[in-house]
């Protein structure tokens, strides 16, 4: 078999994931199931070509049922320095710890000192 062109594959896969998530944004209100289909496709591509889904997009859909968050389909609460996101379609609860602000400042200091 011919050699696979890894680098080019990864580049195209990344672009496709971006396109898919952009389309998901638009289709979220029009056709909810179709938007879910896009998320599913994007995940499959990411798994197949071992690419991480950017954090920005990861927050936009529920990990369990892959439905994108739409207003009225998810609930957000903040408790004990954590953001808790509950998906109303499947009830999966996602907790995102909030890193203390100081972390950022120390990074700047290090850069300053270094």
């Amino acid at each position: 078999m011919l050699k696979r062109e890894r680098k080019l594959e990864k580049k195209i896969a990344k672009e496709r994931i971006d396109i898919l998530f952009k389309l998901m944004e638009e289709m979220k209100d029009k056709d909810y199931d179709l938007a879910r289909r896009y998320v599913e496709l994007a995940r499959r591509i990411a798994m197949k070509y071992r690419i991480k889904i950017p954090k920005v997009f990861k927050l936009k859909f529920c990990k369990k049922c892959l439905y994108p968050y739409k207003e009225g389909r998810f609930r957000v609460r903040i408790a004990k320095s954590r953001v808790i996101v509950t998906c109303l379609n499947c009830g999966y609860v996602k907790r995102i710890p909030i890193r203390p602000i100081r972390q950022k400042i120390s990074k700047e200091n290090k850069k300053g000192k270094g």
């Binding site: 011919l2 594959e9 496709r16 389309l23 179709l34 197949k48």
Partner: protein
């Protein structure tokens, strides 16, 4: 993006028109690709959603600033598989890259 990479790239969201087809009623279907499976393309036309089989059809698609006729047999793979298979097809077809 170079024009020949269309067979590996995303088709959902592209404007597509069926140019040649085994089933003459399908010639002239035009619209945006909404979904894609291994063997079919789902095209949203003004008259509604149309499902067109890829094999044996030729699609006219706009990609990377060029208008292109793509034969359905080249994209007859699952969407995620199409990247890998498409690039191998290009390599086997000895595509000139100048």
């Amino acid at each position: 993006m170079r024009p020949e990479l269309v067979i590996a790239h995303e088709w959902i969201g592209l404007n597509v028109e069926v140019v040649k087809s085994v089933n003459p009623c399908e010639v002239g279907i035009r619209g945006k690709v909404v979904d894609e499976t291994k063997n079919t393309l789902k095209i949203m036309t003004e008259k509604g959603l149309k499902t067109v089989i890829k094999k044996g059809r030729v699609f006219r698609v706009k990609f990377a600033g060029k208008l292109m006729d793509v034969s359905g047999d080249l994209i007859n793979f699952r969407p995620e598989e199409r990247i890998r298979r498409g690039l191998i097809l290009l390599k086997r077809g000895k595509v000139r890259r100048w």
